[in-house]
């Protein structure tokens, strides 16, 4: 199964204890599948992950968006609070 690295931030990063996680998922990998697998692996942050968005190469994508494992930078973006 292809491996995919996902960048983590804020409370999700704290829950993981790391700034990124590598997930093994059956291809083709969608943004929604990444989200779901993260929530499985980090149950303590499950509620927060379910309201987070996935960004690919700096843009938000929909759940059905297919990820190019070899080129894309993938990040989980919990609800933001800048400003």
């Amino acid at each position: 199964m292809p491996l995919i690295r996902v960048l983590l931030f804020a409370a999700v990063r704290d829950a993981a204890g790391e700034s990124s996680l590598e997930l093994a998922l059956p291809g083709p990998i969608t943004a929604g599948a990444v989200s779901k697998e993260l929530a499985n692996q980090l149950p303590a942050a499950g509620d927060l992950i379910r309201v987070s968005r996935i960004a690919v190469n700096g843009s938000y994508v929909a759940d059905e968006h297919e990820i190019d494992v070899s080129h894309d930078e993938v990040a989980l973006i919990p609800p933001v609070s800048g400003g």
Binding site: L7, F9, A10, A11, D14, L48, V51, A55, G58, S59, Y60, A75, I77, P78, P79, V80, S81, G82, G83
Partner: protein, 142 residues
């Protein structure tokens, strides 16, 4: 013209003023969002902040802010846009964000600055961790 930057030092508005300079604009508007000590929620409960820390997904934050500034310039016919966000600790009374807009007439600036702040707070990957009076901390995920 637009100026976007993430900084780790105090924001000095005077340093960015020249970015809006244009002899054909009649209106310059600057918003500073400042770390506030007291917050009173809807039930009247007051919490006291000791300090704030900000973290960003920097590459994406810059990209989103550049896009946001470009959208604002088109939508409100702005001449200049400045968005500066500070990261790391932002102590009480200091600014975490500075937004400036210039336009021929004041109406455009008055509409643009609130719109930029609204969009920034909805979409730009920056997060605030609050440290309360009792030293407990909490990431803010609204």
């Amino acid at each position: 013209m637009q100026t976007i930057q993430l900084v780790n030092q105090p924001i000095d508005p005077a340093k960015w003023a020249h970015c809006l300079h244009d002899i054909d604009t009649g209106s310059h508007l600057w918003f500073s969002g400042v770390t506030r000590r007291k917050t009173t929620d809807s039930s009247g409960q007051t919490t006291v902040t000791r300090t704030l820390h900000y973290e960003a997904y920097a590459e994406m934050a810059i990209e989103q802010l550049e896009r946001l500034a470009k959208d604002a310039r088109l939508r409100f016919e702005l001449s200049g846009v400045v968005i500066i966000h500070r990261l790391g600790e932002v102590p009480l009374g200091e600014a975490s964000v500075l937004v400036g807009c210039s336009s021929a007439h004041r109406k455009s600036s008055f509409e643009a600055v609130p719109w930029i702040m609204y969009r920034l707070k909805a979409d730009v990957p920056i997060w605030k961790r609050e440290t309360f009076e009792d030293s407990s901390t909490q990431w803010i995920h609204p």
